[in-house]
């Protein structure tokens, strides 16, 4: 019994189960509060209905490294090491998946990773065209052609050097 006390099981929308250390899961505020509400219960399974397994895996990977690095670099240098890991972590995520990930992280309320993913998406759209960004976020243009032309005219320099890929 004692050995499983510090573990919790996270269940994805597909029903896939992930066994995670409490130290890792407690970074997900929503999981933490559910567990606190149900203290004393022997049931250690938390269903994350809307979060797909691939995102659950990413989030666990991030916080597993976060917890390990924090322990290892208590004396200092944690932020630098975390930055290195974050760079490598983001490289393996597809730009479309970033959107799914940010929704999942927002839902689970995990502030550190939320900041990382928001920054990554901002970096991705930084030099993109208006059309690309509308498509990326699924936003409908509600300006008339004249209105849009006028707004562009006000700050023409902002439209130089933009790429669409």
């Amino acid at each position: 019994m004692a050995s499983t006390d510090d573990k919790v099981i996270l269940k994805s929308s597909e029903g896939e189960c992930f066994e995670v250390d409490m130290a890792v899961a407690s970074h997900l505020q929503i999981v933490k509060s559910v567990l606190e509400d149900c203290e004393g219960s022997s049931d250690k399974v938390v269903s994350l209905f809307i979060v797909e397994a691939k995102y659950v895996a990413m989030i666990i990977e991030y916080y597993k490294n976060y917890v390990e690095l924090k322990e290892k670099h208590e004396e200092g240098g944690f932020e630098e090491k975390l930055k290195e890991f974050e760079k490598q972590f983001l490289e393996q995520i597809d730009k479309k998946e970033l959107k799914g990930l940010v929704m999942a992280v927002n839902y689970l309320n995990a502030p550190a990773l939320f900041d990382v993913v928001c920054t990554a998406i901002a970096k991705h759209i930084e030099n993109k065209s208006v059309e690309y960004v509308r498509e990326y976020f699924g936003i409908v243009n509600d300006f008339t052609a004249e209105e849009e032309a006028q707004i562009r005219e006000e700050h023409r320099w902002a439209y130089d050097g933009v790429n669409d890929d």
Partner: protein, 379 residues
């Protein structure tokens, strides 16, 4: 154990929530924000919301503290200035962007330009001034603090992080008047306080919510730090590591600088350029002044009274110093630099600084035409 259905429903939509999109957009550079004004009506109104501008500026300022973005100022000719933004790369700096002042802005010398939180203050020969946002390519004419602006004046610009406002102080040393300007109200108001002693340095250093100048008491030659606490709007005094600095020195160099969140004091001879770098480790405690290292530039720095120096903290124990065309990296415990690189700093550099942050301030301001009469060479 399951999460409640209520939460489940509110999050099950397939698109990203507006709050999350706002969080992403807050992390964009100014140029992208300006471009994305035409994505949709709701994005445009979000960008013009003062709370968005406030949060965006705060994030940019926090980021600038970590990124070591260097801004250089150079006076190509006496009448026009160029600013260059550099980013750190392999212990040196690479130029990212060049901002030239709008042609109608005339510059009247080294001491009358200042930069804080992304806005640059520039003054005209007769004393009136503009606030200029180089990234937005927008300038705003500030009303004159008094009908006749004294040549014996000191001006300080700062960004008030609590009020989300750019503010300035105007000190008239002849008439002994002090005025404070707030950009959001666009007006000057008088305050009943004057600095203790004479202000010696032109540009203030803004740390710990206060502006700092080097001051001197005329009769006693007592050198000290003049402090203007911007929240209580009162002047204070702080001690330098020593007070009788100039006696017996030829061509002295004496200035304040910013080093991370701390106040730094630079003291030495200007020709040859040998400068001691001091830091006040605990703000407001004069006993905490500590001498970190000495920068010896020999005769490599010309015109020392005008050559800039900027310091920034990197990692735990590293200090980057930018002087002339050189980037020196020091370990705080060691006198000799760990590394020394040259970078393509522009000729006639007069100022270096590490606290430049892009800001959306002035986005909603109309472009005010500057009085033609101040632009003598416009034809």
């Amino acid at each position: 154990m399951i999460l409640e259905g209520r939460e489940r429903a509110s999050h099950s939509s397939v698109s990203i929530t507006e709050e999350t999109i706002e969080e992403i957009l807050l992390r964009l550079a100014v140029k992208s924000v300006v471009r994305f004004r035409c994505v949709s009506k709701s994005w445009k109104s979000l960008f013009h919301n003062s709370s968005f501008i406030f949060k965006h500026t705060t994030i940019a300022i926090n980021r600038s503290r970590k990124n070591h973005t260097l801004l250089t100022t150079n006076g190509k000719h006496r009448s026009d200035i160029e600013y260059r933004k550099y980013s750190e790369k392999d212990d040196s700096f690479v130029c990212q962007e060049i901002f030239s002042t709008p042609p109608i802005i005339k510059w009247d010398g080294n001491d009358q330009q200042q930069c804080c939180g992304g806005l640059i203050y520039l003054s005209f020969p007769r004393g009136d001034c503009v606030l200029w946002n180089p990234v937005l390519r927008k300038q705003f004419r500030v009303p004159d603090p008094v009908p006749y602006v004294s040549s014996r004046r000191t001006v300080g610009l700062w960004y008030d992080e609590n009020k989300n406002d750019y503010k300035m102080i105007y000190l008239d040393h002849e008439a002994k008047t002090t005025k404070v300007y707030e950009l959001s109200k666009n007006e000057w108001r008088g305050i009943a306080t004057t600095p203790p002693g004479n202000i010696f340095s032109a540009r203030p250093v803004f740390v710990h919510g206060s502006l700092h100048w080097i001051g001197v008491k005329r009769l006693t030659y007592y050198w000290f730090v003049v402090v203007f606490d911007t929240s209580s709007e009162v002047f204070k005094e702080m001690e330098l590591p020593f007070s009788c600095v100039l006696i017996g020195k030829t061509f002295p160099l004496i200035m304040l600088a910013q080093l991370g969140d701390s106040l730094s004091f630079i003291y030495g001879t200007a020709n040859p350029a040998v400068w001691d770098i001091w830091r006040m480790r605990e703000y407001g405690v004069s006993a905490s002044w500590i001498k970190h290292f000495t920068i010896n530039m020999g005769y490599r720095v010309l015109s020392p009274s005008r050559s800039g120096i900027a310091l920034t903290l990197r990692k735990v124990n590293e200090i980057i110093a930018v002087v002339g065309k050189e980037v020196l990296v020091f370990n705080v415990h060691n006198e000799t630099p760990v590394s020394c690189h040259s970078f393509d700093s522009p000729l006639n550099s007069v100022d270096y600084r590490f606290d430049f942050a892009e800001t959306l301030a002035l986005l909603d301001y109309p472009l005010v035409n500057i009085d033609e009469s101040t632009d003598e060479s416009s034809a």
